[in-house]
Amino acid sequence: MTPLLQVKNVTKKFGGLTANNDVTFDVAEGEILSVIGPNGAGKSTLFKMISSFMSTTSGEVFYKGEKISNNKPHIIAQKGVVRTFQETTIFKSMTVRESVVVAQHLRATASLPGYFFGTKAAHHDEESFGRNADELLEFLGMGEIRNELASNLPQGNLRALGIAIGLATDPKVLLLDEPFAGMNHDETTKMVELVRSVRDEKGVTVMLVEHDMPAVMSISDRIVVLNFGEKIAEGTPLEIQNNERVIEAYLGSADDEIGM
């Protein structure tokens, strides 16, 4: 069986700087895979290339065997691969519910003129969007803040809103951009549970890019480690924890230490 998402020999160069070099890995259906690495390891660049927010210099990304790299973001989203952003990227002047309603754009059955003239299909869509939004927000534990303006939300809720917006598109693969960044322990624990329930109950495959080691270790089925743009390890959290190259990348090699 082909893996759901395949990253094949992806390379990104900015002039003389190589952000990603020949990165290859697969994401299986239904798993939670994390990409980790020290600052500047090329995680974000890789993330943008998978969601087509950036083109690759060489190499390809496949979804269900179909090439999706070097395309337009909205087309990738239509196929079912949806990314989230960090907390500042929201619809500031929409309420939580409005954001989630508008994000169901891809599920629309009526055409834009249909909406303009208020056809039956349009009414049906609008009702189901509202219902879906309420259900989804309830599921994410955001029912009580549904009528809050996005710009008034605290940071932790913003991250959840980002995930809600992503989930509203009914994705097959959800790409999360540093979902735990800047969170305290409690918030992180809650978010880990949330991401897990998204996978378990919605059946969404999750790939995330993250710094927070403990969170990544507890949430991931598998982990891919990048260092200076190259993949240096891939495996289960336990394998990664004991991988020498990973320890080296994060802590520096024993030979580098002063006095040795």
Binding site: H74, G118, L149, T169
Partner: protein, 343 residues
């Protein structure tokens, strides 16, 4: 189609329609100021074009090029009517569609630009169309097109709906009614757009284009649609102005007019669908009302405008008691925000 409209809003609409279709003609008949007909007809037509500009603001683009599309619409209808003998009632929508088509062709490259870059390009458009009309044979160069016949009768299945304007006892009143009717239709359409899916997608783009594209919104497609609709309004407004004045020259719409269209929108309020109407009325009619100040007219007018914009940065309609968190208030804030950030 309008099920979300509250009874209070229906009442407001009824009062507005009564005012423009009954009260104003009665007032003019009573005071004998028939010159107001021309002024108010112009206000109605220019506010249609301003409504288009407002829509481009709604996707976070500053549009200072509506004069170009007004000119295109004016010339398209004038050429069709005088050279090809097309019926006015057919020429009018075609002129709008032609302006929209040109907008699509121009929009394809320039709508990628944001903020001040898009604004600068649109600022040039009016001049480009003016120079083009000077150079072309079909537009008759600097002499323009004059003696455009008044609108013919409009009949469907042999039933005359609108009589021939040339035979009307008071064609000024005819134009006034027609302009008001078109304005009402245009703003009803705008209201509907903003409150339907297209408007919601526009709002998502206005607030964050990256996030909008991540949820599958084809942002370049929506931008083109919006720019085309905006220019359609410009084209219709322009074609009507040409018909009203029975002429069109390269100077019929100038860069200054394009700036005025934008000012109308600002003054009325970016967050309010009906802002452009009020803005146009204030700017155009306000100027006329200050006529008796003679040489002080421009000074007083400009000072008043500056004061208005200082006191009411969100437009005149922000005076209305707005409920915090209402659609209107949010849209107003968002529009202001998007512009401040130069998106």
């Amino acid at each position: 189609m309008f099920k979300n409209v509250t009874s209070k809003q229906w009442l407001g609409l009824a009062a507005f329609l009564l005012a423009i279709f009954v009260a104003v003609p009665m007032f003019i008949a009573a005071t004998g100021r028939t010159d107001f007909y021309f002024t108010l007809t112009m206000v109605a037509l220019l506010s249609i074009a301003s409504g288009g500009v407002w829509l481009t603001f709604y996707i976070g683009r500053i549009n200072i090029g509506q004069g170009a599309f007004g000119l295109i619409g004016a010339y398209a209808s004038a050429v069709m009517i005088t050279t090809f003998d097309v019926n006015f009632w057919l020429a009018l929508p075609i002129a709008g569609l032609f302006a929209a088509l040109v907008a699509v062709l121009i929009g394809l490259p320039i709508l990628r630009l944001r903020g001040v870059y898009f604004a600068m390009i649109t600022l040039v458009l009016t001049e480009v169309v003016k120079l083009t009309s000077l150079a072309l044979d079909i537009t008759n160069g600097a002499r323009g097109i004059t003696n455009i016949p008044r609108p013919d009768a409009l009949s469907i299945f042999g039933v005359t709906i609108i009589p021939d304007f040339a035979t009307m006892a008071n064609p000024k009143l005819g134009f006034y009614y027609l302009a008001c009717l078109l304005m009402v239709l245009a703003f009803a359409a705008l209201y509907r757009i903003v409150n339907s899916r297209l408007g919601h997608l526009c709002r998502s783009m206005q607030q964050n284009e990256e996030l909008a594209s991540s949820i599958g919104v084809n942002i370049s497609h929506i931008r083109l649609i919006v720019f085309a609709i905006s220019s359609f309004f410009g084209g219709i407004g322009g074609a009507m102005v040409a018909s009203l004045t029975q002429s069109v020259y390269p100077n019929t719409f100038q860069v200054k007019d394009s700036v005025d269209f934008m000012l109308n929108v600002f003054l009325g309020g970016l967050g309010y669908v009906f802002g452009p109407m009020l803005g146009t009325l204030t700017i155009y009619f306000g100027w006329d009302l200050l006529f008796f100040f003679g040489k002080w007219q421009l000074l007083i007018y400009s000072t008043l405008l500056i004061i208005l914009m200082l006191i009411l940065p969100n437009g005149i309609l922000s005076l209305r008691l707005k409920k915090p968190g209402s659609d209107v208030a949010k849209a107003a804030d968002a529009a202001g925000l998007a512009l401040k950030e130069g998106k």
